[in-house]
Symmetry: C2
Subunit: 256 residues, 2 copies
């Protein structure tokens, strides 16, 4: 045996397998793949897709998430599709007459993330478009996941259910890191800059006889507070100082 290179440990667990049970329309498979890609899920499993596999309609609907479709695995039964997993969840819009735990999506994904982080294999079953998961599919799951939908309008399509699961998976497994932050190109103004602005503004307002007698302190506090609520940047402070200067010049020219 030669030297063994230690693989770099992953910083985040690989996501759960998304298992579509007997999906009917290729378009729905493609839209589900797109929703997976939005939230970084990469392992797609298909149980007996009605129209066979590969399916050109899936490719057309995947909006570029084709790598997922290329590597999708096809199984003859739900049981085969979950055989290598140790923890399986099943989204459901209703109680199923089985004594399954019922979890909210965030709790379910937190549980799944800790299991996958410990090296277990996890998957999430999604049912047929019209009829959902059968009781024999549900029996293979450790718990149900349900979404806080309006009971009067509870039906989510396949891609939407995958999207919500993917969203909570990212939140549970990677925290709430956002793809971008507020524009950092100019930093928030320092208090010194703000105070310079306030003094400039208040001096010009005093010169313009803006303040009623004895009102300057309270009015100044209120105006300063408005600027604090605004949270201006250094550039914003420069803009305001320029505006105040321009207005004051105008007034002086008119007076002259």
């Amino acid at each position: 045996m030669g030297a063994v290179t230690q693989a770099t440990p992953k910083t985040a667990p690989i996501g759960p397998a998304i298992i579509l049970v007997e999906p009917q329309l290729g378009e729905n498979i493609g839209m589900a793949a797109r929703a997976m890609a939005n939230f970084g899920l990469s392992e797609l499993r298909l149980v007996a897709p009605r129209d066979g596999w590969p399916n050109p309609a899936a490719l057309a609907a995947a909006a570029g998430a084709t790598g997922l479709l290329d590597t999708a695995k096809v199984y003859a039964s739900t049981q085969d599709a979950v055989a290598d997993l140790t923890f399986v969840l099943a989204p459901s819009a209703r109680a199923r007459g089985q004594m399954k735990r019922v979890l909210a999506p965030d709790a379910a994904m937190a549980d799944l993330a800790s299991r996958l982080g410990a090296g277990q294999g996890g998957g999430i079953l999604f049912g047929r478009e019209r009829t959902g998961l059968e009781n024999d599919d549900i029996a293979l799951a450790d718990a149900l996941v349900t979404f806080p939908v309006d009971p009067a309008f509870a039906s989510l399509n396949l891609a939407q259910a995958v999207l919500l699961v993917g969203y909570e998976w990212v939140r549970a497994s990677r925290g709430v890191a956002l793809p971008f932050e507020a524009n950092p190109s100019t930093p928030p103004a320092s208090r010194a800059s703000l105070i310079g602005l306030f003094e400039h503004l208040e001096a010009e307002l005093e010169d313009a006889e803006f303040y009623p007698p004895n009102k300057k302190p309270v009015m100044s506090r209120n105006m300063r507070d408005m600027f604090h609520r605004m949270g201006p940047t250094e550039q914003d402070v420069r803009t305001w100082r320029g505006a105040i200067r321009a207005l004051a010049e105008l007034r002086r020219r008119r007076k002259a």
Copy 2:
């Protein structure tokens, strides 16, 4: 003036207005309406929909969420559509070169829920299908909302963006109440029932000479723990007792 009947106070704030800016396809308007209905949002505003209004394609795609479409209001400009609101959010997949606050969906909806709870009017702008919100639309918003999507695959369609906002709106405004709970038809087994089961099982196993010498205490603890992990109901306990009785009878008949 006659007697004034006090309206019953609402227990949850009415949801934010969902404002679709220059939507192109009626189908997308319908799917957005469906996503709103999933999470109990009811106020749809349309800014200059390309194909006019009403639009039969929207009705066909709404999967029954037609009440929302019937009451949708149409505006000539984004500015008109937000004129009566005091807090406006704009989902965006990227920084926009404006100094807007950037909020995660949960933080954004929590902020919105507290404002709407205090009687303010709130709305969320969604952009055109291909080109999104223009900078002049963004300028009307108090903050951006962004989803923790994979930056390499960040594009959400209109209905999916509405769905995620609706999901977080429900979580923020109504907590995480689920549309159903675990099957309550038979309650979890009492400890007394479980202990009865354990003693029955252990007596039969002892009678069957199952335990190696001195191993009964530790093996019993392990088996009892398995049943605790299982969390059985009263009915489950009855099922197990029947199964144990049947196996023990079988063994006795064979011995006889």
